[in-house]
Symmetry: C2
Subunit: 159 residues, 2 copies
């Protein structure tokens, strides 16, 4: 009865479990890191995605950039708007999909978070090596792509 397959010993399974653990550790570390700024990991990530895009981008665009659903990002964006870190600007290409832009306060918060993250990122890079980081990132990227292709050639929102 196929007893020669222990799913937890499969290389893919072991990597998946490591992804789960590191994901949790990164979120916890991020929460600690930006907590003095009144931020959380999720809000920080959304701020970062907006920082990346010059001129701002709509909520659904943020979600696509982060691999999440519109609905999840929307609440965080609303929180950030309530905190005065982002604002909504009219979108010349779409009447309803307003552009989410950083306010000066948001830009300062994003910069402060980056400044706090930098030394930790350096320390982690020395815990392994930069080439190993790059190669691991490439492997994870390929796996995510393959997983998206294997599951759900679907419709609708695709987180």
């Amino acid at each position: 009865m196929n007893a020669d397959f222990d799913p937890f010993l499969h290389p893919t399974s072991r990597l998946a479990l490591e992804v789960f653990r590191l994901n949790g550790a990164l979120i916890a570390a991020g929460d600690m890191l930006v907590e003095p700024l009144g931020l959380t990991s999720a809000r920080w990530q959304v701020l970062g995605a907006i920082t990346q895009a010059e001129g701002g981008l709509p909520t659904a665009g943020i979600a696509r950039a982060m691999g999440l659903t519109r609905q999840s990002v929307q609440r965080v964006v609303d929180d950030l708007a309530r905190l005065g870190l982002v604002r909504f600007a009219p979108n010349p290409h779409h009447k309803r999909a307003k552009l989410v832009q950083l306010t000066p306060e948001g830009r300062m918060a994003s910069a402060a978070a980056s400044a706090r993250w930098a030394p930790l990122a350096e320390a982690l890079a020395t815990a392994v090596t930069v080439p190993a980081l790059d190669e691991a990132a490439q492997v994870l990227h390929r796996l995510a792509t393959a997983l998206a292709a294997l599951t759900a050639p679907s419709s609708g929102d695709t987180p």
Copy 2:
């Protein structure tokens, strides 16, 4: 003002973002995979942790094995007990910390989930290579360890 550091271009940052994406993709794929069995990714993972340990283990032990908090696992365990997939057995070493064990139904569900996961794990392994998987897993493991050491030499529940 340190403008030569773009936090999103740092190798550690790029890997972190890939971890977030793959984590989400794996959970989504797992949910699809075991949904016909009445399971979810979280319940499947807890079932797996119990399957690993012969004789069962207490809730806090499951949490340690998975890198989560007792409280998070407890609710899932209660759900599984309500579904009849696990049961509580007296613990000779601790009166309150009952051992969580699989019922025959739980064993069947765990085996069915493994059978569904196996081909997907194989397909993903061929999307990259097994040595690459192993090396990536090792890198993630070292990062998680380093991160735990750098943040919170703390007390109490340490997920």
